[in-house]
Structure formats: structure tokens, C-alpha cells
């Protein structure tokens, strides 16, 4: 205790020391609180995930982009800040799907979104590691080896089904409703499509139940379209069913023109046909599928594994009719159908 006896001075300095100590203590508390807050808060990750997009045939333009982005936005991803899209380069017919898939894999993207079953197959072939979310996985993804099962894909690929050939019977039924007097219905099918033979068998049963005759028109490429329509007209077909096929979807403008020219009332799978001038469509919504794919991308970015994400089935089916086309064909659409329609295009 040095200077212990300087008592007449001791009082005031002790008070000052106390005040100083209290002030210092307050500071310590404040800084401690701040420190713990800073240290214990989770640090934002610096890694910004990148999403590569691979499109089979860019016939659909960039229609997938809006719903895909919307889904990611809804889940809190801000493009450019915590997610980056590796968009496909400008439409390049020369670049094969495999080459583009390899480019995305080399770029080290975190997720690949594929549009169309061909793109899904190409991406699957390019990487066994990078998660793939496919929109459209061929009619039977298990048989084609993309997934082990619909409920548990098992590999690095999962997705949203849009190719539902089994809807063809329903489409035929709707068509007969629109064209009540139809006796002969032409069916545009692709012999190279693996699912079509089975669909034709099912369709045949339906036709018999409905009391119509089917006229099968086989196409393998764009060049077969015009002869097929010519055959239909020549054979006196009253209406036309197009089986779901990427080939026909890609050349839908050409086919719609041929249908109009042949004055054939036709039914399709997607609303995109009707918006482009088709009479009637019944099937899942592509926009919804893209949106669902976006939600899957979000779950994968948050740590989910594609092998655990079941292949998603459509839950809603859209019935879209085009009044203008119907009028041009001289058809009076049944009132019940119009009421049932999800969308009526004037």
C-alpha cells in the first residue's frame, strides 16, 4: 500500500477512480454486447451459386426464364446478389447439346436446369455430380434411365414431368366433344418416339369407345408434315390429334399453318399451341413446370439432394380454347366446354 497515509488526499482520487471504473465498466459492457453480436451472427457466405440452363430446342424462346426467376425470387434469391444465371448463348444450331452441357460442367455451375428431355439426357451424360433439374424427362424417365424411380430418382437428376402421353385419350374425347360429328380422326405420331406405340394402343381403345375411326399419320421429321396433312385431307379426316412430341412442338407454327390450311380442328397438349392459333389444348402448364423447377433449384441450393426429390407430377391440367380458330373452322363450341375452359382465347 504505497502512499497509504496520504489520507487527506485519498478521498477525492478514490471517488474519481470509482467514477472512472464505472465508466470503463459501461464501455466494456457495451463493447462486449457488440462483439458477441458480431461474432455470433452467421457470416454471409461469399459463394454465389450459379445456375446453368440447357435447352433442347429453343423453340420456346425464353419462356422458361420468367417463371423460373419468379420462383427463385419468391424463395429469397436475388439475381446477381446471391444467385447468377448462366444463360445459354444465343441460339446456335451448330453447337450440339452435348457440347453445351460440357461447357456448363466445365464452368462449374452449381445447378443445371434442362428444358426438354434431350437436354436432360445430355446433361445427365455430361455430369454424374452436378445436380440437374429437368423440365420434361421423356415419357418414361425410369425406362430411359434418367431416374431410378419417380419417387426416389437416386442420382443427380430430378425434375418436373410435362410429357404425359396418357393424356392423349382425354384429348381425343375433348376433340369429339368439339366436333360432335367427327367420324374419322387423324393422329399425328412419331415412330421414333419411344412412348408413342403404347399411346396409340390406348388411343385405339378410346376411339372404339367413342365410336370414331383413327387415321394414323406417321412423321419422323419436318419434311413429313405436309404429306401427312395431305393424306389426312385426302382420307377425309374430320379432326386431328397431335401426340406429345418435342419434334411437333418445335415446328408448331408450321403445323398450325398446315392445320388451318387443311381446315382440320386439332387438339394439342400445351397452351402454347392454342396461343399460336391452335383450336384446343389440354395438358399441364409449362409455366407451372418452370416455376416448380425453380422451387427445386431453390431446395437444392439450400442443401437438398436431387436423389431425394421425387419427380414432380403436374397437379393441374389446363383446358384452353381459341374462339377465333373455332369461328374460322365454323365450329360452335359447346357451352359446357367453354365453362370448363381454363382459358378462352378470343
Amino acid at each position: 500500500m504505497r502512499g497509504a497515509l496520504r489520507l487527506h488526499e485519498a478521498g477525492r482520487p478514490a471517488n474519481r477512480a470509482l467514477v472512472l471504473a464505472l465508466a470503463a465498466g459501461g464501455l466494456v459492457v457495451a463493447s462486449l454486447a457488440l462483439l458477441t453480436r458480431c461474432v455470433l451472427q452467421p457470416m454471409p457466405t461469399t459463394h454465389i451459386p450459379r445456375i446453368g440452363v440447357l435447352e433442347s430446342r429453343s423453340s420456346d424462346g425464353a419462356a422458361f426464364q420468367e417463371p423460373l426467376r419468379r420462383a427463385l425470387r419468391e424463395q429469397g434469391h436475388v439475381e446477381g446478389q446471391n444467385v447468377i444465371f448462366e444463360l445459354p448463348p444465343a441460339r446456335d444450331a451448330d453447337t450440339s447439346l452435348d457440347a453445351r452441357a460440357a461447357t456448363l460442367v466445365d464452368a462449374g455451375v452449381d445447378v443445371i436446369v434442362t428444358i426438354g428431355s434431350a437436354a436432360a439426357a445430355a446433361a445427365k451424360a455430361a455430369t454424374p455430380r452436378i445436380p440437374i433439374v429437368a423440365v420434361g424427362l421423356t415419357s418414361d424417365p425410369v425406362a430411359s434411365g434418367l431416374v431410378a424411380s419417380l419417387g426416389r430418382p437416386g442420382g443427380n437428376l430430378t425434375g418436373v414431368r410435362v410429357d404425359l402421353p396418357e393424356l392423349s385419350s382425354k384429348q381425343l374425347e375433348l376433340l369429339t366433344e368439339v366436333v360432335p360429328g367427327a367420324r374419322r380422326v387423324a393422329v399425328l405420331w412419331n415412330s421414333t418416339h419411344p412412348a408413342h406405340p403404347a399411346v396409340l394402343r390406348q388411343l385405339d381403345a378410346t376411339a372404339r369407345a367413342l365410336g370414331v375411326e383413327l387415321l394414323l399419320l406417321e412423321v419422323r421429321g419436318p419434311d413429313d408434315f405436309a404429306p401427312a396433312f395431305a393424306t389426312a385431307v385426302a382420307q377425309g379426316a374430320d379432326a386431328l390429334v397431335t401426340l406429345h412430341d418435342p419434334l411437333t412442338f418445335a415446328y408448331r407454327d408450321q403445323l398450325l399453318a398446315l392445320a388451318a390450311e387443311s381446315r382440320l380442328p386439332a387438339v394439342y397438349e400445351f397452351r402454347e399451341w392454342v396461343q399460336a392459333g391452335g383450336l384446343l389444348s389440354y395438358g399441364p402448364s409449362l409455366q407451372d413446370a418452370y416455376h416448380s423447377a425453380g422451387l427445386y433449384v431453390d431446395r437444392i441450393l439450400r442443401g437438398a439432394r436431387p436423389e431425394d426429390l421425387p419427380v414432380e407430377q403436374p397437379t393441374e391440367y389446363e383446358l384452353v380454347v381459341n374462339l377465333g380458330t373455332a369461328a374460322a373452322l365454323g365450329l360452335a363450341l359447346p357451352r359446357a366446354l367453354l365453362v370448363d375452359a381454363t382459358d378462352v382465347i378470343p
Partner: protein, 640 residues
């Protein structure tokens, strides 16, 4: 007290001070007191902080848990309401297609199909609906996926949906999965008559269950749904659902599904349990009726109690800081409390060690300062009495030494006196003995003239002996203060005349000059003694002026006294003997004095007499052979 001791003088100097004992003793004691204060302060403040922190923690734990559980219950309730509403809507929609019993027969299959078609617009979750007649055969069918063609040959009468719903009942099938991933449920409602038909609808549950799965509690909280048997039908981890996980392995699920036993408390609606991954979760559940499912809302305990962890951390940090401050404050306070006590103790130790000029400086303005002041006063008194004691001792010692010296001197005088007296007595005794012996032995042969001379010599020696003894007695009485003095008014001139007249026959060679002023005041004294003094002095003057000469007697008055002088022109006194001539048997060794007679006590007797009467006596002499003057004084006679 010289001056106030400055504070710095009180600073301990452990090595410079020989009284280090006190300081060393004090060290451990002081430490103990200081420690005691610090410990008490720290215990008080720390205890208060700790208890308040723990209490706050306890209450925030309770509140937090209650809040989380309430939130979970609310979420579960919302989910249940959502599902129940959905199921009821679907049920009502199906029921709307069932005609009243009286109209059942008149409704055609086509009308039913139209009803189903309308129903599809109302209930998008229904994928397929079919009306089975009383035999279980399809009558009307509407589907979103296939054609609306009935298969008349198909018999559904054995199916549980048909059997369970007949008679106006409602049947909910277990959840099943289409395409391995789509949850579906069959809802069958029978016509009201017992043997009536049944409407069977396939309901897609994906959207409604997804809605339940969107429930989020915090970051990691989630909801899931199990059916009556405990099988998982909806869970954020869809793979668990598709594996048809049986959740009855979890005790809280088992408890929730168990039918309530009468007399047994229903299971807690919210509790802490293990989830499938073994984590601790806070869980709440609620039954969905219809169709008898149970919704669970769970949140990992660590997340649910995250605010609590924060609170605990905060409390701990505050506690630490508070304790630090308490220690700091207690150090300061204890220091302030102990310091004055230390100062007191140290100063007291020094005072105890004898440093009586030590002053205790404590300015705390409280009892301690008062105590210090008391100490200071005590020390002051102690110092004063100490100083007085020392002075007295010194005085007494000095007196004692003086007395001792005087005693030694007196002893010396006594032995001197004894040898002188014996010498003085021996001389006349020797003469008496010599002459007496001669007379005895040779008496007849001694001539009468010689005999007479011898006898005269014996007579003179006897006189001298007698005078000597008388003087000795007188001197002894004077010294013992036993000489009776009878003061009376004296006329010194008269006494001088009488003494001169007595002496003159023996001093024919000397002339006496008596020059006493006539108006000399009366002196106060014993006339016989004064006469004796004067006679003695005049006799001495005669004796020590062997060659004759004038002897002057003078007197004067001053200051209430009368001074008398006797001046001769004789041998004088050397300066070194002037003071000693009044000692007994003191002689100035000169040739003449050997032969002069005298007892050697005359001047000593004179001094004794003069002093006994309140006067002084002294001698003056310019030197040997130049005569001497003897003075004595007497007080004036004052009329009473």
C-alpha cells in the same frame, strides 16, 4: 508540540525505523482486514448480481418456452384448420352431386356426369369421381386424366371404399401415392338408403399438404402430418414420406396417437422429444378430424432456445463485468476504509515505541478522525508529563550531586578543623605541660622570679585554651543556628567608641580614627555580638599592622542597610585569600602571622554573627603590604 507533523513524515520507513516490529506485526493484520472488506463487498455485489441474473434467466426460460410452444400450437392449429376446411369443402362438393333419396332413381347417368363436370370446376383437387350403383358397378365417371367412359363390367363392390361408405356414411381412405410421389386419398360417400350407391372421389392431396409443409417456425422449425396409424403422409423431407416411414417409433407421436385412456391425463400438447434424427425438438401437435390425421409442429430445441442462449450469454457477460466492477469498487472502498485504520495502527505503534512527537493525521471526517484526535490529545498529555518528569529528575540529580559535593566539602572541613583544632589545642597544652613539669621537677631550684614567669606562661596558655574552646563553641553554635540573637536598635558610634577604648591600652603604637557620621541611623542587631564583631575586626587590624599605623573606622547608610568598614595600613591580604579569610582556621601564611596570636576562628565567627543578623561581611585589600579593609553590613532599625 513543536509544529504539526507533516503527512510525509508519517510515511512508513520500514528499514530506517528501529521500531519495525510494529510495522511487521501490522502487515498480516492489515491484509486480513483488507481481504475481509474486499470479500464482503464482492460477495454482496456478486451475490446480488448472480441471483438477479439467475432469476432473470429462469423467467426468460419460462417465457421463451411458453412463447415457442404457443407459436407452435398456433401453427398446428392453422394447419389443422386448413386441412379440415379442405376436406370439408371436398366432402361438401361431393355431397352436392348426390341427389336426394327420392330422386335417386330419376337421375340419369348423363345428369350425373354433368354434376361431376360442375364439381370439377369447384374442387380442383378431385382428379376422378365415379358413381357406383348398389351393386358396385360404374354408372357415371368423370376424370381429368382419362376419358369419361365407364367400364360397365368392372365390379367395385368388394372395395373398402364401397363397403365402408354404403348407407350414407363417409369414408376416408388411407393416403396412397400415385406415380410414387403424389399423395392421394379416396373419399367415398354413400347414398342415404342402406343399400344405395356410392360416390367415390380420388382427391389429390399434394397442394393441401404442401400448404401445411410451408409452415415454418423460426429457421429450422417444420411441420409434418401422420395418419391414424402413425404413417408419415407429409414431411418437408419427401423421401421420408415416400419410404412410408412409420413414426410410431417416436414416443411423442405414439403418445399423441394413443386413444385417451379414461382416468389418464391426456398427453401434453407440447413437449420436448427426439425427432427422427435424434435431435431434441420442442413439439406440439393437433388432431385433424376429419380425416383423423395428426399435425405435428416441431422446432429444434437449440433454435427455440436461441434467444435464451443469448440472454444467458448477456447475463454472463454482465455478471462478469459486474463482478469486475465489484472487485474494483471493493478494492477502492476497502482501501478507503482500511487506510485510516492502518494510519491509526501505525502511528499508535510508533507512539507505543516512544515517538511521542508522532501525530496521527486522519481526515476522514468521521469517527476515525475523532479517534485519531483523541489519540493525539492523549499523546500530547503523555509527552507533557514525560517532559516534566525528566526535568524533575534532572533537578533532583543536580541537587543530589550538589549535596554530595557539599557533604564532601564539609567532611573535608571537618577533618581539617579537627586537625587544626587539635593542633591549636596542643600548643597551649604543650606550654602548660612544659612549665608545669619544669616547676614540679625543678621547683626548689627555680628562682622565684622565674617561677612566677613560668606560672604566668601557664596562665596565659590556659587563657588561650579557654578562649579557643569558647570560640569553637560559639562557632559551633553559629553554624548550627543556635546562637540566640536579640535584635535591638544600635548606635554604632557608641559601640565603636567603647571598643576603641577597650582596645587602646593594648595598642599604643596605633592611632584610631573613628569617622562615623553623627546622623548615622540606628542599626538593627544584637549589641553584644556587634561589639564582638567590631572588637575582633579592630583586634585583627592591630595584630596585622605590627608596625603601627592608623586604623580607620567608617560607616555609611544605604538602601536600608548600614555598612561599617575597618581599614588598617598593615600587611594586607593577597587577592587569592580575600574570600577565604572567613574560613575557620584559615591563615595567610606570612612571617608575621606565625607569631601572632589568635584562635583562627575570629573572622569565621564574625561572618556567622553578621549573617545571622541579616548582613554581609567581606574583605578588600589592594595587595600584600598595602593594608586591608573589612566591611560588614547590618540592616537599619525600622520602627515597628
Amino acid at each position: 508540540m513543536n509544529e504539526a507533523v507533516s503527512a510525509t513524515r508519517l510515511r512508513p520507513r520500514p528499514h530506517a525505523q528501529p521500531r519495525a516490529r510494529g510495522a511487521e506485526d501490522a502487515r498480516p493484520q492489515r491484509g486480513q482486514l483488507f481481504r475481509k472488506y474486499v470479500v464482503i463487498f464482492v460477495l454482496l455485489v456478486g451475490g446480488a448480481l448472480l441471483s438477479s441474473g439467475l432469476i432473470e434467466l429462469y423467467f426468460s426460460y419460462q417465457e421463451n418456452q411458453a412463447a415457442v410452444v404457443n407459436l407452435q400450437r398456433e401453427k398446428a392449429r392453422t394447419a389443422v384448420v386448413t386441412i379440415e376446411q379442405f376436406v370439408r369443402e371436398v366432402q361438401h362438393a361431393i355431397e352436392s352431386t348426390i341427389p336426394q333419396s327420392w330422386a335417386a332413381d330419376v337421375v340419369s347417368p348423363e345428369e350425373r356426369k354433368d354434376d361431376f363436370r360442375r364439381l370439377f370446376r369447384l374442387a380442383p383437387a378431385i382428379t376422378e369421381i365415379v358413381y357406383l350403383d348398389a351393386t358396385g358397378h360404374e354408372v357415371a365417371l368423370w376424370s381429368r386424366l382419362t376419358t369419361n367412359q365407364v367400364s360397365p363390367e368392372a365390379d367395385h363392390s368388394a372395395e373398402p371404399s364401397f363397403r365402408a361408405a354404403r348407407g350414407g356414411r363417409v369414408y376416408f381412405s388411407p393416403v396412397y401415392f400415385r406415380n410414387e410421389s403424389e399423395p392421394y386419398m379416396t373419399i367415398a360417400i354413400g347414398d342415404s338408403e342402406p343399400e344405395g350407391g356410392v360416390t367415390v372421389a380420388e382427391v389429390n392431396l399434394k397442394l393441401i399438404l404442401d400448404k401445411v409443409l410451408q409452415i415454418q417456425v423460426g429457421r429450422a422449425g417444420y411441420a409434418y402430418v401422420v395418419d391414424e396409424s402413425g404413417r408419415l403422409i407429409a414431411h418437408p423431407d419427401i423421401s421420408l414420406v415416400l419410404q412410408q416411414t412409420d413414426l410410431t417409433v417416436l414416443s411423442h407421436v405414439r403418445a399423441a396417437l394413443a386413444p385417451p385412456q379414461p382416468g389418464e391425463a391426456p398427453p401434453e400438447p407440447a413437449m420436448i422429444a427426439h425427432d427422427l434424427r435424434g435431435r431434441f425438438v420442442l413439439t406440439a401437435h393437433r388432431e385433424v378430424d376429419p380425416p383423423g390425421w395428426t399435425v405435428f409442429v416441431e422446432q429444434p430445441v437449440e433454435e427455440a432456445f436461441q434467444p435464451l442462449v443469448w440472454s444467458a450469454l448477456r447475463t454472463a457477460a454482465l455478471l462478469l463485468v459486474g463482478l469486475g466492477l465489484a472487485v474494483l469498487a471493493s478494492l477502492v472502498l476497502a482501501r478507503r476504509m482500511v487506510q485510516p485504520i492502518q494510519a491509526l495502527q501505525k502511528s499508535a505503534a510508533r507512539i507505543g515505541g516512544g515517538a511521542l512527537d508522532q501525530r496521527i493525521e486522519v481526515h476522514t471526517g468521521d469517527e476515525l478522525e475523532a479517534l485519531a484526535e483523541e489519540f493525539n490529545r492523549m499523546t500530547e498529555r503523555l509527552r507533557d508529563s514525560y517532559a516534566g518528569l525528566e526535568q524533575k529528575v534532572a533537578e533532583r540529580t543536580r541537587e543530589l550531586a550538589d549535596a554530595l559535593a557539599r557533604l564532601e566539602l564539609a567532611d573535608q572541613h571537618k577533618s581539617d578543623l579537627l586537625s587544626t583544632v587539635s593542633h591549636e589545642l596542643r600548643t597551649p597544652l604543650g606550654a602548660i605541660k612544659g612549665y608545669a613539669t619544669a616547676l614540679l621537677r625543678f621547683g626548689p631550684r627555680i628562682r622565684p622570679a622565674e617561677r612566677r614567669e613560668f606560672l604566668e606562661s601557664i596562665d596565659r596558655a590556659a587563657d588561650r585554651l579557654s578562649a579557643l574552646i569558647e570560640d569553637l563553641l560559639l562557632a559551633q553554635r553559629l553554624e548550627a543556628g543556635r546562637l540566640p540573637i536579640t535584635p535591638e536598635p544600635l548606635n554604632l558610634a557608641e559601640i565603636a567608641e567603647e571598643v576603641i577604648a577597650e582596645l587602646a591600652p593594648r595598642a599604643v603604637d596605633h592611632g584610631f580614627v573613628c569617622s562615623l557620621p553623627p546622623d548615622l541611623p540606628l542599626a538593627r542587631g544584637d549589641s553584644r555580638r556587634v561589639r564582638q564583631v567590631l572588637l575582633n575586626l579592630l583586634d585583627n587590624a592591630v595584630k596585622y599592622s605590627p608596625d603601627g599605623g592608623e586604623i580607620r573606622i567608617a560607616a555609611d547608610a544605604y538602601n536600608g542597610h548600614l555598612a561599617v568598614s575597618v581599614q588598617d595600613e598593615g600587611l594586607g591580604i593577597p587577592a587569592e585569600h580575600l574570600a577565604r579569610v572567613f574560613e575557620r582556621f584559615h591563615r595567610v601564611e606570612t612571617g608575621i602571622t606565625r607569631t601572632t596570636r589568635g584562635t583562627g576562628l575570629g573572622l569565621a565567627i564574625c561572618q556567622g554573627i553578621v549573617q545571622a543578623q541579616g548582613g554581609r561581611i567581606w574583605a578588600e585589600s589592594p595587595g600584600a603590604g598595602k593594608g586591608s579593609t573589612f566591611w560588614f553590613t547590618l540592616p537599619r532599625w525600622e520602627d515597628e
